[in-house]
Amino acid sequence: MHEMAIAEGILDIVLKTAEQHQAKKIVSITLEIGQMTEVEPESLRFCFAALSEETTAAGAVLEINHIPLVGRCRDCEKQFVIEKLRFLCPACGSTGVEILTGRELKVRHLEVE
């Protein structure tokens, strides 16, 4: 249940941001969650709803953008979607593959009133 710790991180960020913008209410929160993170969306929503009670984020909708797992070959620089978690370049067969996207755990933007 590390979703609780992630929900705490989100709440911390959104409450600070809302305060900076003197917002009275946070309507929605857009997140970027990478494919190679082990976050369960429904569990995250449940934890966030519980934690955000009686704050300006109470009732805020969590919009989750799932980010695909994309790698780049360090040898031939090909960019490709990593399928079935095989970190192998489809062009040259190199195992030197770095992750470009897919590890995100980010708050992208908020809708506030």
């Binding site: 249940m1 590390h2 710790a5 992630i6 991180g9 989100i10 911390d12 960020i13 959104v14 941001t17 809302a18 913008h21 917002a23 997140l31 190679m36 993170t37 082990e38 978690l85 095989r86 970190f87 192998l88 195992t95 030197g96 593959v97 755990l105 980010k106 708050v107 992208r108 933007h109 908020l110 809708e111 506030v112 009133e113």
Partner: protein, 220 residues
């Protein structure tokens, strides 16, 4: 009104983890985050490591556990300084927990700190706690499908220790298939096969560990 944020959710934890790592690095200490399922053999691996290396390497252990100090007692009996962190039901250690207890260690008198995380293949993988390297222990009896079912903890690891190899004849565990899965996830990983019961393969683990300690000292 829309407000752009673009903030990393785990940023606070990552910053604390960097502070913990900096404290270790000032003293040239190599820090290892030991991960794996409950019962995979993390504590057994530590017990062997302490007995075999304590004459040559100054090491301490930080034990993560939900409620008990059972593992810390096992470690203390082998003669290594040990600090207990109880997460009170929390499924993983975080950097703040480690930072709080670091002052209990004499950092001037250590080469190696091993942090045994809470037994869990999911949650601890997301949280850096100040380590140089994560090591994941996988035991034969857990089954060969685990790397692909819990990929992050195997992707993040610098080494994977496959424990309980003495039990292979009694299971359908396919070592080649497991190695293939782990290497396709993490081609740079060191794979070390051991049995903490018979002692087979442990020399390979000690060599890997000693090499990491030497490399860390050279970087500091």
């Amino acid at each position: 009104m829309e407000v752009q944020v673009m903030a990393n959710i785990l940023d606070k934890n990552d910053k604390l983890a960097a502070e913990v790592n900096a404290l270790f690095s000032v003293h040239g200490i190599f820090c290892l985050n030991l991960l794996g399922s409950p019962g995979s053999g993390k504590t057994s691996l530590l017990e062997h490591t302490i007995i075999s290396l304590k004459e040559d390497i100054r090491l301490a252990v930080i034990e993560g556990d939900l409620f008990t100090d059972k593992d810390a007692e096992r470690i203390a009996r082998k003669g290594a300084p040990v600090i207990q962190i109880n997460t009170g039901g929390g499924c993983h250690l975080d950097a703040a927990m480690v930072k709080t207890v670091i002052s209990k260690l004499d950092l001037t008198a250590l080469d190696l700190v091993i942090i045994e995380n809470v037994g869990n293949l999911v949650c601890p993988a997301e949280f850096n706690i100040g380590e140089d390297v994560k090591v994941t222990v996988l035991s034969v009896t857990e089954g060969e499908d685990k790397p692909m079912k819990y990929p992050l903890v195997f992707k993040e690891a610098g080494a994977v220790v496959i424990n309980k190899i003495d039990l292979i004849p009694y299971t359908s565990f396919d070592m080649n298939a497991v190695k293939e899965d782990i290497e396709s996830l993490n081609p740079q990983v060191s794979l070390i096969e051991v049995s903490c019961r018979t002692g087979d393969g442990l020399e390979g683990w000690y060599d890997w560990l000693k090499d990491q300690i030497v490399r860390k000292k050279a970087r500091c």
